[in-house]
Symmetry: C3
Subunit: 440 residues, 3 copies
């Protein structure tokens, strides 16, 4: 029986972890990230204060699958000055003001010409949009539509002091060693600038999760990836083809700090173990989780689930990308995420890890008829009456389906019982010599 004190301290611990994730996300928020450059390095440096992160770099021009690592982009300053010399747009105020990967520019031009380089959101006129142009040569600014309307005709001085030059693409990896040689992949994109939910939340959550895993003995290895979207995932895949066949389960983590969802998008396979596990965790009482079928648009599951890899990798989010009004705007700030939501996202991912760790495929060593449970004291091991009935049903379901073709998740799904009850029953049966683990 869990005491009230235990519950309280668990709740406290959870709030604590939420506060720690939030604080880390807040620390990451102001950094100007892109798919390459010093912002990524600074972000990894901050994360490395949590966990013993390995920073990896690959050079500009390197071929990664069908792509080429682009030049590195760094920016020092950017503004638009009006005729009176006042900065009407200033990169120092918000790093969303500059089009990601913008070319350098320093010119004076009339407002009419300048306007073709300015991006706004007329329907959300107070917000700055987030825009990038990684692979075509452009320069540009992003600003609130209302601020644009206030600009008077005349000449403006435009400066973007940015540089694209041969350099590196940078990403971080953390590897938690388990007992087996099978891997779980957990990945968050690191390429977005000051957007709190998308994806300071995911980066901070995974860093804190990795930290928590250090004290835990696991069956699986856990590989944490903090890499720029698309090109980062492709780089990792191209550089690690020998490790890919070791990945049994994977999860992309993004937008985990707001109060929406939870949402899970299945892997391309559709009924992979990670899909079953997520369906179980998101289906627990009180969670109104949504499960979506795979589609090839989204985050880096696009790469992991491409047909040449077809890895069992799904996407976990709170509000789904593109569906919330703050998405890819300056409103995706630190007010939009909260310690409570980060904590509950953390808990759900941790529960999925628990399920993956506890899932195995039993083989009934006494498959003819039911073995006599009473003689082995299995019924008396039960405690209270109601729980006794559940555990007894757990025994019967596990024994009946333990033909080597059903994992505990399969048994939970078929029986309609909770995974936890099934796993508990299986553990007791294993301990009593009634089950063996199927060879995989």
């Amino acid at each position: 029986m869990v005491s009230f004190d235990t519950i309280r301290s668990a709740a406290d611990a959870e709030v604590d972890v939420g506060i720690r994730i939030y604080a880390l996300a807040a620390r990451l928020f102001p950094i100007c990230r892109s798919i390459t450059g010093d912002g990524v390095r600074e972000t990894l440096h901050v994360l490395a204060q949590q966990i013993d992160l390995t920073q990896r770099e690959v050079p500009t021009g390197m071929q990664v699958l069908d792509w080429t690592v682009p030049q590195e982009w760094n920016i020092r300053d950017a503004y638009i000055k009006n005729g009176a010399g006042r900065k009407v747009v200033d990169f120092a105020d918000h790093n969303l003001h500059v089009l990601g990967y913008s070319m350098a520019v320093h010119r004076t031009m009339p407002l009419s010409e300048l306007k073709s380089h300015i991006y706004t959101l007329p329907e959300q006129p107070d917000l700055i949009p987030y825009r990038t142009s990684y692979y075509s040569e452009q320069w540009g600014f992003c600003m609130a539509h209302n601020a644009l309307l206030e600009l008077e005709d005349g000449e403006y001085e435009v400066l973007i002091d940015a540089e694209k030059s041969d350099g590196h693409l940078t990403y971080g990896e953390y590897f938690h060693k388990g007992q087996s040689d099978r891997d779980v992949l957990l990945s968050a994109h690191i390429c977005h600038p000051s957007l709190a939910n998308d994806n300071c939340s995911g980066l901070a959550l995974l860093a804190c999760l990795a930290r928590a895993m250090r004290s835990r003995k696991t069956r699986y290895n856990y590989r944490f990836l903090f890499a720029p979207g698309t090109i980062g995932a492709l780089t990792w895949l191209a550089s690690n083809e020998d490790k890919i066949s070791r990945i049994d389960h994977g999860l992309i983590v993004s937008c985990v700090g707001d109060g929406g969802g939870p949402n899970y998008k299945r892997s391309r396979r559709g009924n992979a173990v990670i899909d079953q596990a997520m369906q179980y965790v998101l289906g627990l009482e009180g969670r109104r989780g949504t499960i979506q079928d795979f589609s090839p648009y989204g985050y880096d599951e696009r790469q992991y689930c491409s047909p040449g890899f077809d890895l069992p990798v799904g996407l976990f989010q709170r509000s789904a990308f593109g569906t919330f009004p703050q998405y890819h705007t300056s409103a995706d700030n630190l007010d939009f995420i909260s310690p409570e939501n980060l904590a509950s996202s953390y808990r759900m991912i941790m529960e999925v890890i628990d399920v993956l760790e506890m899932n195995w495929t039993p083989v009934n060593l006494f498959p003819k008829g039911e073995p006599q449970l009473g003689r082995r004291g299995l019924y008396s091991a039960l405690g209270g009456d109601k729980a006794a009935g559940e555990t007894a049903m757990g025994y019967l379901w596990v024994l009946n389906l333990a033909d080597g073709n059903h994992s505990l998740l399969d048994i939970a799904q078929r029986s309609g019982m909770s995974f936890r009850d099934i796993a508990r029953a299986a553990k007791l049966l294993l301990a009593n010599g009634l089950l063996a683990e199927a060879e995989s």
Copy 2:
């Protein structure tokens, strides 16, 4: 065309069989049965007056799969006497009064101590519960809760004149020989004392059914088992491993005398022929049958459907066990069952047997295009107009799906036509040389 007289005499025959089953169940009701002992022998003796039953015995201590045949239990007398020498509980009044397999006891003790050995149903205070303790050493009484409340403090004399000793486990078998070497298993548990629905009803029904089969030429062999729950089924399985692969279909029969249901629980395989046949019979017009998926809790289907056997055995009941308030109480008496309900249960099981007997897998001998049915007089063989259309559709469906991969039940299922119409069409096509039977 069936005449009114035929219908009437069929209805009469049905009421007759209901009355005969009821009378037999009533004859079995007072006997004090358990999983072993003279009550089982007396029950088999009564059944043997209907059919040429083989009584089998295996000795205490025999290993049957993971279990051991227990000592034989017999009881002569039991009571609780109050200080005035009056019997306040008397085994002679109702055999549910004694905990099944109770140890012997003869002592005097205060009410306070006695109470820990008394089982009641506080929420059904006028009923005696049915309780057993086969495999752990206890003694006890069962009584109405209201009667317990009336007992005054003081000393009570407690007697259970029972005996556990090396002996035998007893069960009965009846084998109806058919033309093939394939078997149908029909089984009812014989271990419950004075409970009318659970399972005097099943025992009596199967005995009358076996009697009726004597005059019938069948394709299948029919094996009727009257055996104690769990240990009896395990004993039969352990003793007949060579016969198990001959079982094509099986049915556990229990609680068939009340007005609920009908209920059918599928075999573990889920779409075995017995499952299809039961679904057909319970889906006939006017029956509000319920079909449930397999679960590993229930009667002896638990043993037959264990993963090492995985036999196609389902469970047929009227009200499902555990769902009716009379279940496992003294209210499961002869008023709870009726000749009408027994007769309709009998009819449904007989119809399932008809379906099993009539089901086969046709192969179209003229598979290219439709064979010319008119030339063979098949359309004129039809009789009335509406029936003609149905039978014509039956011909077409059978011929079209007679590719060796569809049984008549499959064809009925896919066409949405009744099994009877499909079987009739197939029979006529076979007689006209258009079909052959697929080799199994």
Copy 3:
């Protein structure tokens, strides 16, 4: 962008084709067809004015599968004259007046005897029914029930100047050669007399479609069959067993001139490509198409889908046969069909052909990760904004599912996108060297 003028001329072309089909159906309507005889020859002669039709004949007595080609039936005249010498029924008025394949007769008889040879529709008392007796020897007349009621008692002269004699069964074939050696079968029954929807409509539509195919380069060969129901299809199948394995898709076309439906009945296989294609075309916006599962009753799909052939052949209709009150009566006349309905049926079948022609199974040549589409200018190839998003999703879905196991129809089905968008995306990807066609 399609201009308004283009749309208008497409609509005009469509009305034009409807008018041409209607005119041809009207030209066929008065001819007295049956399963053999000069009516069939005259019909083929009219159709041959549209397309270079091959007329084939097989002799009476030839064995075709389980059937025998019957004697040829021809009729010159038929009437019923009353005592006053007035023709109360005259074949010259309507060819439905004579039972199809009626024996010859010339006698005088009282009304009471005559009546047993007269067929009417008491519930549609003004309509003449359509009846035949191909394979049993009978003579008879069909007439309006009200007209029958007006006949006065007395003697009537009955003449049917018809002849059954050894001759031929006649059918027509048109073959459009495509680039591959795989065939599409399109078939309409030619055996019904003056019934406009059933099936002057189908004959005329297929003839016009065949004519339109002449100017079209296709992947598939298209075989058009104009053959009497059942015996014609059996004759073709028996005579062309070597060509049957070349049929990848097939469609029976009947009742395509009324305003009902559209209806499609799946092939026996249930998810053949023709079934997917029809489901797509009938599911397009604004069409309230109905898809029915296969059943072995209907038109010649019965023969093509018999288990010995099991060809992927479905049935396309507007109103389904047997469901409309005009079915098999004199009300199935030229007022019941219209150029507009014929045109829209034509369009739907042409669209299905488009889908079959455009469907192929892609293999992603860059299956690891997503290939870089931007670099290849694929995003800029898109035009307008909304279409751009759709095509981008089309690229992603095609690339993701291009593992050699999914045709474009499969991809459209799984993605929920339109086949046209998927096919367009696949074509652009193919042109850019990102896809190859899977070997079949």
